[in-house]
Assembly symmetry: D2
Homo-oligomer: 499 residues x 4
Amino acid sequence: MGVKSTRDLWGTRREGDVAMATRSKDAYTKSLQDGRVVYYKGERVGDVTSHPILKTAVEHAALEYELTEDPRHHDLLTYTLPGRQEPFSRYFKIPENAEDLLRRRAIIELGTRAGGTFFLIIKEIGSDCLFALNVISQRLDAKYGTNYHERVMRYYEHCRDHDLAMAVAQTDVKGDRSLHPHQQEHPDYYVRIVDETRDGIVVRGAKAHTTNTVCANELMVIPTRTLGPEDQEYAVAFAVPMDAKGLKLIVSPFSHTDHNTFHHPVSARHHLLETLTIFDDVLVPWDRVFLKGEWDFAGPLALTFVQFHRFTAVSYKAPLLDFLVGAAELVAEANGIRRAAHVREKLVKLIAYAETVRALTKAAAWECKMLDGRIAVPDPVTTNMAKWYFANNFHQHVAYLQDIAGGLLVTGPAEEDVKNPETAGYISKYLGGKKGVPTEDRLRLLNLIRDLTTSDIGGYNEILSIHAEGSLEAQKLTIAMEYDTKPSVDYVKGLIGLG
Amino acid sequence: MGVKSTRDLWGTRREGDVAMATRSKDAYTKSLQDGRVVYYKGERVGDVTSHPILKTAVEHAALEYELTEDPRHHDLLTYTLPGRQEPFSRYFKIPENAEDLLRRRAIIELGTRAGGTFFLIIKEIGSDCLFALNVISQRLDAKYGTNYHERVMRYYEHCRDHDLAMAVAQTDVKGDRSLHPHQQEHPDYYVRIVDETRDGIVVRGAKAHTTNTVCANELMVIPTRTLGPEDQEYAVAFAVPMDAKGLKLIVSPFSHTDHNTFHHPVSARHHLLETLTIFDDVLVPWDRVFLKGEWDFAGPLALTFVQFHRFTAVSYKAPLLDFLVGAAELVAEANGIRRAAHVREKLVKLIAYAETVRALTKAAAWECKMLDGRIAVPDPVTTNMAKWYFANNFHQHVAYLQDIAGGLLVTGPAEEDVKNPETAGYISKYLGGKKGVPTEDRLRLLNLIRDLTTSDIGGYNEILSIHAEGSLEAQKLTIAMEYDTKPSVDYVKGLIGLG
Amino acid sequence: MGVKSTRDLWGTRREGDVAMATRSKDAYTKSLQDGRVVYYKGERVGDVTSHPILKTAVEHAALEYELTEDPRHHDLLTYTLPGRQEPFSRYFKIPENAEDLLRRRAIIELGTRAGGTFFLIIKEIGSDCLFALNVISQRLDAKYGTNYHERVMRYYEHCRDHDLAMAVAQTDVKGDRSLHPHQQEHPDYYVRIVDETRDGIVVRGAKAHTTNTVCANELMVIPTRTLGPEDQEYAVAFAVPMDAKGLKLIVSPFSHTDHNTFHHPVSARHHLLETLTIFDDVLVPWDRVFLKGEWDFAGPLALTFVQFHRFTAVSYKAPLLDFLVGAAELVAEANGIRRAAHVREKLVKLIAYAETVRALTKAAAWECKMLDGRIAVPDPVTTNMAKWYFANNFHQHVAYLQDIAGGLLVTGPAEEDVKNPETAGYISKYLGGKKGVPTEDRLRLLNLIRDLTTSDIGGYNEILSIHAEGSLEAQKLTIAMEYDTKPSVDYVKGLIGLG
Amino acid sequence: MGVKSTRDLWGTRREGDVAMATRSKDAYTKSLQDGRVVYYKGERVGDVTSHPILKTAVEHAALEYELTEDPRHHDLLTYTLPGRQEPFSRYFKIPENAEDLLRRRAIIELGTRAGGTFFLIIKEIGSDCLFALNVISQRLDAKYGTNYHERVMRYYEHCRDHDLAMAVAQTDVKGDRSLHPHQQEHPDYYVRIVDETRDGIVVRGAKAHTTNTVCANELMVIPTRTLGPEDQEYAVAFAVPMDAKGLKLIVSPFSHTDHNTFHHPVSARHHLLETLTIFDDVLVPWDRVFLKGEWDFAGPLALTFVQFHRFTAVSYKAPLLDFLVGAAELVAEANGIRRAAHVREKLVKLIAYAETVRALTKAAAWECKMLDGRIAVPDPVTTNMAKWYFANNFHQHVAYLQDIAGGLLVTGPAEEDVKNPETAGYISKYLGGKKGVPTEDRLRLLNLIRDLTTSDIGGYNEILSIHAEGSLEAQKLTIAMEYDTKPSVDYVKGLIGLG
């Protein structure tokens, strides 16, 4: 389908789409051939869907559309609206209760399992952002008499009705992290409004590590932090299509490996792309501007987005955690050490780690709060506890798996050696494990563990664990802010006869 | 009320009780004056309700009856049955769904808050045991054609209808813990059947650290572990009233302190009693025998009880954890260090600790399993994760509170010094903290923290954290047994093209 | 001997002492009968050496003199000086190299072992302070042309030659810990100079948790923190005899238990006393004034003392850590679980904990630094790492021991029950453990573990672990200040071609 | 130089070598061109010194010879022998006291710093093995009347006098790790003797992850575990030159990255090679056989080697730990967060981690034990504590550095983007950090951190931390075996009046 220009943005839906708001995988893929400006390893990429490296990320993202087309998942992955015949992608379902959030968790887990432990992200983060904009725009209008809410809702319907793939750029490049935006050496270290015309605003700056912009139709941009009155020009939220003039993506080469599926069973097939996302004086039409100078709403918007997005985060971690458990069990078996006391201890720790994150995620849904009586947000304290617990413990639990797997993780043979008749026999003979486990299966399993824990992608996973969706400090801060200690304080006072 | 002899055990309910199955506090207290055999510090105690030390435990337990009589809590603490007018204590409500379990959690938390962080236990553990006997007796009958289930249900109704206070003795004294019961040096290291008569069975042995037997009307006894065929005589479950002939209680002096409420704001008013519970050839009538030699059901009974009881455990920990949070907040304020970075970090850790245990407890209820389609049991893996997480982290989190509180915890003045005119002024002047916090309040707060964390009772709390309701190892084992790794294993196999 | 008044302070040594600078236990004990003002539980204590509770602390401290008199330890515990015939207590040996520090560590460990894991302290802390005063006074004189160093050295010789027992008061009561001394609500929250006369200075204020003042002859007072120019009046260091007018001690009741050696095998015989130490306008003669207003030396003095004293701290922890190891081994054996995998794991953790502290302590000595080319101070970074490691891990390692020991720690019988013929048999029979371990021995061992880890004294130990000799934060800060990261930074720069 | 055949092994030294036992870098490099059988990614490698990938490892190893030739290090890196004029490489110095071990530690640290945190290994491990063979061979002769010791000493002199590069193969491929060698499905899962001829023994089997065989002249082979009488054929130790017939090396491709020094500042220049080392019926002449069937000495030999080798391990970790400290400090500065409380906390943790390992390593030397009164071995308990502490905490401390460094670690630009004029300006502008830190320097620093912690090499480092030189379990076991708990047990017994 594609959104070729901003002119027909709010145009009426095309006829062929009437009975089906969800798109086909092909329609999605074609929609990315829109002339977007993408650089990869020093070269401008013409078509991201056919580039040898980038297409893997596109195919990974396309799984979302493929799964939705799959009759087995159709009911879970779509929902309907009163007065509308066609089913919509469930990602767009505005959560109204715990049940909605639990289903949202379930579809994120489903997509991520299909994605080989990497989430598909092409709907998750965008809908998180739409929910936050929904809430905040109404509050903005209430305070300032603006009409942001209508803009947001029209944009939301546009994305929903066209089943668009969305990316969100939040983290500014930040320069000196101890300074406020207006204090920085360069005024552009945070994205800001540099001009205002009849048609809209002009924005400049760059956002760091934006995931899967390359695979999106739409890019939403929101502030990354609380701002003060002197940071007014940095208080900006908006959306642009990926082919917007002045929008440029520099893809990092570090978030993927090669396509050898023996060496990299998962990352050869699935990976995300991270971009330095540059706004080189991009014009944003008025109906896509969602915050403009109201600095007191920058923090609330950033935070509300994060409340939804950290729930997404802890939802999509589940398959990676299941991998840790399943791989530990299998490799313990293959190595013949499944009954060793220390192995059983580590296995229980891995189980408790995985299931504690999952249980806390569900608990966040069960204990959801209603924002403005309209939209259900997962309980912020529980969500952040889940994320913090996950992030604080990831490296250690990876170490448990590595410990069970053994040194062969980094000393194993190349695929070429396995195939070379001069060496194949030695490898097959000597790298066997417990009787009954074929050497090749054992090697595949070790390669999988290497791929996800000790390779470039393993490093990527480690960094994701502590930096994606907010740092450890951010989660700590949120818990401190959101938790009401008064009941506990009152209880303690009561115990000593005070108050 | 009291249950004076086993003869009228199943007798019809008395008239005066018709409109009220729940007892008054007084009725409860009087019921304990039944000639039970109790030793405390070398002396036989005549009346536990008037003994200077023991009566504090009785009054603590009696809170359960007091709360139920309180109109503010009546609805929460009682429930009704079809065809019966009177309300029953909600502890007896057989859980049928998540809602029942969540309410059960709530009443345990309520009672424990009233008990100054110590749970009342006088209904909790007994009903846990009754639920387990309910489940297992039916399975026993199905396999062996026995009539245990009817016995159990009549006994259950007896307890419920008379609103009895119950204790459960599970942990045998064990001797050499690496040996099975029949391998022990002494055959009586586990409670066993030594004789069988027309009237019933005769049991001998001792159970260790049984909580609040002294305050109970009824004592239920179940096995503590899985047994083999050679341990048949140890496969025994039954109930006896506390005045049963041959039943003797030796109370440990280590679970309480003195009655100085300045030094011990909580433990001067609330404490539990732990007994070495001796069965000196006690005759148990047939209708109170719930397992007799069916060794293959010893493990399932022990485990099913524990599944309910660990949920009780993680429910009653909440007020103690709230105390850690509230006390840390207050003492940080009193010391003027609330904004120190390390204090804020520790406070967030305490919050996350408390709320993770609470959230996992609720999650265990939300994800409950139906046993035999009849009785809802909290999800065993989640319950045990909650308990294990609590137990693995208690000492460290106590340390965080102690760190914030400061050394005065163990170097503070005696109440007598505070009152002595020669020293009162110095203390008042020099032990002040932040402006606006009265010295006396600061001392009371420090005394509270000492009482619950660095005194004899603090030690009791530490031991409880790792030994009560099953050891760390027991929880680890349960998680390993109950968790199905197959989905994770299958997922990992799928990732490498196996299976 | 006793130092009755400040007048004869520098008096010539008495004849009988000529051949022996070290005192007898009796001489020491008698020296405490000097009319000092001590309050305990609301009463003024006439003679601390005969008070039923306090005398235990005196006897504990007296062990230092007893050990020195013991021919087996004489060589280790004394040293000689050129030109002097008599041996002096080795505590006074000014360390000049690693060997001196290693011997100092050895005598502290020896005394603490004799003290049942509690250090004797009556020489340790005082000599730490004398070394610091030695260093700082010389620097003071160099900057200000004062004559502090001579005063300090005469005072040092006085203590050494009379073999005095010494206490050090450093920690002020502090009020609001976030404020500097001069900012406090009360000006006396830190000890300060309130007047100056021809005879000396007059000081007012209070020091918190001063250990064993009650058992000392001399009390040295030094600042607790870095001060600024506005805190000048708080920049004061001095020494007074314990019978100084206006000096008053309020003993905390929380650092000891009763004298029942069955229930408290160690603390019935050994304990320390903590006092709130009040200076009610105490006159300090000039020759005992070691800092007066030079605020820029308050921090250096505090820190230098701490550098010696934290080495003392990590030295005296060794017996407590050995206790953890030995008790774990013995109780695992008594319970029959010595071969369980988790028990072996915990035992190794306890060993590694104990020996890491010991090895780091020795390493601090081996890597000692020379202060001003004269006095060897243990390497500050290593010393603080040792202390921090100890303090960060104490609670958890106590938990390991408690885990192995079992719940009987807090549910065991009273001595009276063990002796009561009605119950003795049951206890003897049922509380046995592994074959061959007498029940009484097992109970004694459990009582020992309770005494040192789960009782009031256990709480005292926990608080000591994180607060004595500086808090966790203080150690962290010292490491940050003292460690030179430049070599590491340069190395990293070199790796990327910078610098 | 090269050792072309086994025939001239004990041949007289060549004339040109007389005045110089240490070799030049060139002589070393040439010595590797000996026809050894090496496979890399499916191909037989003709000359390892010119192969594009392998030569980097050769050059890395050659640093050892380069450093020794450097006059600045000559004294440290060499030693002399009585009666011999020429200096020998200090690695061959048989340790006789703490001083020797401390110097050994120093030269290992020196080499590893030069190696960019990767140790050179080409002498370290070989000399560890020679020391162990020295000790064990003498014990073997004493028990069995064999002449192993003479063989070992001649071989030792050969290596020393020719300054040979040595590798050690210890870890067998193991098959099912829960089974003894003779119980395995394949008899060759552990290297074993398959034949015995007049000339020597014939060995078959494979050793896993042998480091830097490719760069060695000599390969020593020793057992990996304790053996029983049924494992007699597996009790074998010997040495072969790298061109021995039947010896085949399959190099793992996972221990190195590419040669882009921007992306991989260290690993582009330095890496180790790990091989699957195959013994396809290799003939070992008698004078190179050091154990043959004496199964009771397999364990002692393995363990003695490990005692030396774990000391090597904790010695060579120092530069990697220094890197963690230095990189954290620099990147905190570059990001402008050096004063954030959590950053300072993490920095102190990194310092304490690095210096605790270093201090324990030195302590192991200071407390060395004399083996048979001849050879100083680092204290085994302390060495293993150091190793265990390092290994248990590596992942978590890497996480601290990654936390400070930020997400750009895995989302940064490629070198090609930095150079592309279309994108260079954006990168330079937007990826700046704190004022005064050039963007390029910041990127180099981030690339360094990625290289060593989040890339393939980062994964290699993680695996090394827990598997190299023995697993976590092996260290735990060694501590348990080597530590004498008797003094602690006796102390505890004394405290309760036993024994």
